[in-house]
Each structure stands twice: as C-alpha cells, then as structure tokens.
Symmetry: C2
Subunit: 281 residues, 2 copies
C-alpha cells in the first residue's frame, strides 16, 4: 500500500534449520521478495550496513529481544531509520459497574502471559468491583498453561481505585498505555478524553487479543509512556514525504522583499543574493 | 493546527541578557505560551526531565549545535520524542542547458555560506556548462561577506558530470539530498523519478532561500542521506495517532475462530481464553 519498491525479511531459523512455515506463508501473502534465514542483532547489522548477500535497507521494522532492540538503537544513532523502540507490553483496563468481571480478568491475564515484565493495570472507581475482578483473575490464573509467567507479571502489576471518573481519565492519560481497554458505560466519551494511548479497545466485546490478531489495527504500538507523542506502526510508517515548490518570476518578485529582509537579518548575504540575481534579469 | 495543548520554547539569551526581539515576535505569532531564556544541551535536559521551573515536555523540536544534537540523541534513547537529528545542511543542484549559470552559482553559494561543513553538489550532463557555472561561482564568491566560510565549504564540495539524464536521476536518488534544485528543461518529470529528497525546488525561479524563508514548505529537513526514509517536519510531526476498535458480540463471534487459532499456534492460551470467555455468555 505504501509503494515500497523492495521488501525483504530476516527471520531466525528453527532448530531444524528451517524458517517456520506460518512465517513463510505470511511473508508470501505480504509480497516479501527476499527472505534471509538470520535473526538477532546480527540481522539488524546486516540490513543496516549491507553484506555480500543482504542488501543495505532504508528502514528496519520489527520486534525482537533486548539485543535486537539495542542493535536497532545503535544503527538508528548512525542514521538508519527504524520503526520504533518497543519496551515490555502493557495493558490498562478501565472498568466500572457495567463491565463483566470475568471478561476483565481474562483481558488482564492475556497481557500478563506475554512475559514476566509485562505491565498489567486495572483502573476503577469501584473498590468492591476491583476485589471481584482480582478474585476472578486468581481463579483463572491457576488454569493457565503459562501461569508461572503470568503470575510473575502480576506481582509487578497494579490495581488502582480512584474516587471519580475524571481521576480515572487523568490517570490513564498520564500513564499513556500501549493498550487501553475501556469497559465502562460511556466508553466513547471516556476515549475522547484520553489523548495518550497506543490502541483503544471499546466496550465489553473488544478484547486486546482481537487487536493482536484479527481486528485490523496494528499490533506494533508505543510503550513505556511514549504514546504521549508517538504512534503505532501504520502505512505512513513505510512512507516518507517530499515537499515541492515551483515559483514563477512574478511569484519570486512578490516574495523577494521578505526573503531578502530575513536573509539580511541573519547575515546570510548569499541567500539574499540568490533572489537578487534572479530579479536582475 | 495540530492541536497541541501547550507549546513552550527555550531559546538562549544574547550578551545583553535578552532574547532576540525577532524570536519573541515569531513565538508570539505562533501562540507559544511560555518562553525560557535558556539554550544548549541544558535546555534539552530541562525539557526532557523537567525542573522546578521548566515542565517535562512530550516532544522536543528544533535545531542546535553538536552539543544540542547529542543531548537530543541521548534523551531520545531514554524515550523522549524528538523531531529529528539534523546533520550539516546540503544542496544538490541538477542543471542542464536550460539553466541560467548565474542563478545556479548563486544557489550553490547560498548553501555554502551556511557553514564550513555545508555540502554543496552540482550535477550536470554538460561539462562545458559545469565550467561556466564554476567560473561564475568563483566570481561571486569574492564579493560575499561570508566568503571565508563559503570557500571552506566549497573545498569539500562536488561538481559531478555524468553522461545521461538517467545517470543524473540515479545519482540524485542515491545521494538523497536535503535540498534538491532541478534547473532542467523538464523539472517535474525529473522530480517524479527522484524518490529520496527532503525538499525539491523546481525550475529557474525557485531558489533554496525561498524555501528557507518564505515559500511555505518546512525548513527542517532530513540530511545525510536519511531522506531515503525520513521526512521533513510538518504538521503531522506535532501529532500522534491512536487506533480505536469497538467489536460487537456478533463481530467477535465472526473473528473468534481466527483469534483462537492464532493464539493457540503461538502458545498464548490466555489470549484465546479472553475470546472464549466472552463467547460462553
């Protein structure tokens, strides 16, 4: 959609020396022309500098472990464009009496199972509700295959009860979560007041896992509070913009007074002269 | 235009302890609410971390010397958004027999006077023309107040003569110049073939100094070849995007097969469970 002339992919091989079939299928669907069976920081370096087999690319996209993240940061410091720097995944669930505690508990767990450093936050104005949700959550945790990981993440997580809905909005806006689930009676009104979030899930039937896999919004989102100024990956992440200007002789004459005056104020005489030269003929 | 809720500015004071009146006037025109009379790396740090007087900001914009650039790079590594990392300014002028050598010489000099590290490149398919332009340039250089700076920049600059217009396009695209001036008989056709450039100046009456001061395009542009993937500052640089999704029960039912299958393929059972929980009721 963005019109990229060439798309290539680096992906690590499995223990059998092969790239996962699901990954190959997805790459084929997306029109990836060349696939290299390499991963890690070395794949980032190969794409940033170019090698005998891997061409130097214009921009590097995609997630990875801390070594990959650091490699992306290093090459970005040398002028290679990258999509973003993703930290541990986060969800903030805003809930009121209109929510279903079972759904909220399931959503909190689906974030917690990502990794031990996942950040999970429940935010409500109803203390009794928070107790019911946490009870439900503990029940469901025991049944999870990844309960060890999810349990570790939950130990570093938060359940926050505030007095008013306005306080909840202020908290969410300051937190700037990667994923924001709003299970409240007026979700769109609340959503309109939260300026900073990566992706927002509205109402009781919009779990984060729908966004992860199937609802169509991008899954690569700003973390660690960077949603205050950054956006998730989108088509525009694969584009760059060029500005063009064509000025007529008459147009330049109209602008010449302003240009010459500002150039002279800055002591840049050759800037003024580039206009004067054209006005002399 | 971007709807920023608060705009503040840090700018160094002059030797008289005052901020330049022209800067204050421009800030007032642009609706800057608060101005701090500080500059340098310390201003970047103040805005990145917040102090007793300077609030922590969401994004830092603006040029500066190498210390400011390094400070921006350091805070960006800690998650503070910044506009871009600008290197030395550059111009590439593509010229053919339809150009006026006096105008081209004036444009090359207006870039050269910026600083000793400015990058100036003349690109043509006509050797005799390049000789005429360089002769004109040397003539004009002697009359410049900043001839010492411009002369130093020109020593590190290039005049390139290639055989064909296609070669010229390939060279320009690989160079990815911050400023591209096309003084050729078919400038729009050539412009359409160059994918990588910060800002493009079309025809004989569009000097770069018009773009610097008055034509309306932004003057903060990608340098050092980063125009292959990066864009200049624009209204969207002051915005961030949030994605929203609201799914109905029926909609989630339609998506549930895909979500559950993909979650299970990744071994993320709680992701699948967040959907199953909702389908059970």
């Amino acid at each position: 959609m963005a019109g990229c002339r060439e798309v290539l992919m680096c992906t690590p091989r499995g223990r059998d020396g092969k790239v996962a079939p699901a990954v190959l299928y997805a790459a084929d669907l997306c029109g990836v022309e060349r696939i290299f069976g390499i991963g890690g920081a070395q794949a980032v370096a190969a794409m940033a500098y170019g090698t005998g087999t891997v061409p130097k690319v214009d921009k590097i996209f995609g997630p990875g472990n801390r070594y990959v993240s650091m490699a992306k940061r290093l090459v970005n410091g040398q002028g290679v464009a990258v999509d973003m720097f993703a930290g541990p995944s986060e969800v903030l669930v805003m809930a009121d009496g209109s929510c279903d505690p079972r759904f909220v508990a399931a959503d909190l767990l689906s974030q917690a199972e990502h990794g031990r450093d996942s950040k999970v936050c429940l935010l409500t104005d109803n203390e009794e509700l928070s107790v019911r949700i946490l009870k439900e959550l503990n029940c469901r945790l025991d049944r999870l295959p990844r309960r060890e990981t999810a349990g570790a993440a939950l130990e570093g997580s938060l359940s926050v009860v505030l007095r008013t809905r306005e306080d909840m909005v202020d908290f969410a806006d300051a937190y700037a979560p990667e994923h924001l689930i709003i299970s409240m009676s007026d979700p769109w009104e609340i959503a309109g007041k939260v300026n900073a979030a990566g992706s927002v899930f509205i109402g009781n039937f919009s779990p984060e896992s729908a966004g992860d896999y199937a609802s169509g919004t991008n899954h690569t989102l700003p973390t660690s509070g960077t949603a205050t100024a950054c956006s998730g990956v989108g088509v525009d992440s694969f584009m760059h913009y060029v500005t063009y200007q064509e000025i007529t002789r008459k147009g330049l004459e109209n602008l010449s007074g302003a240009i010459v005056q500002m150039a002279e104020a800055e002591g840049l005489d050759a800037h003024a002269e580039a206009v004067r030269a054209r006005m002399s003929y």
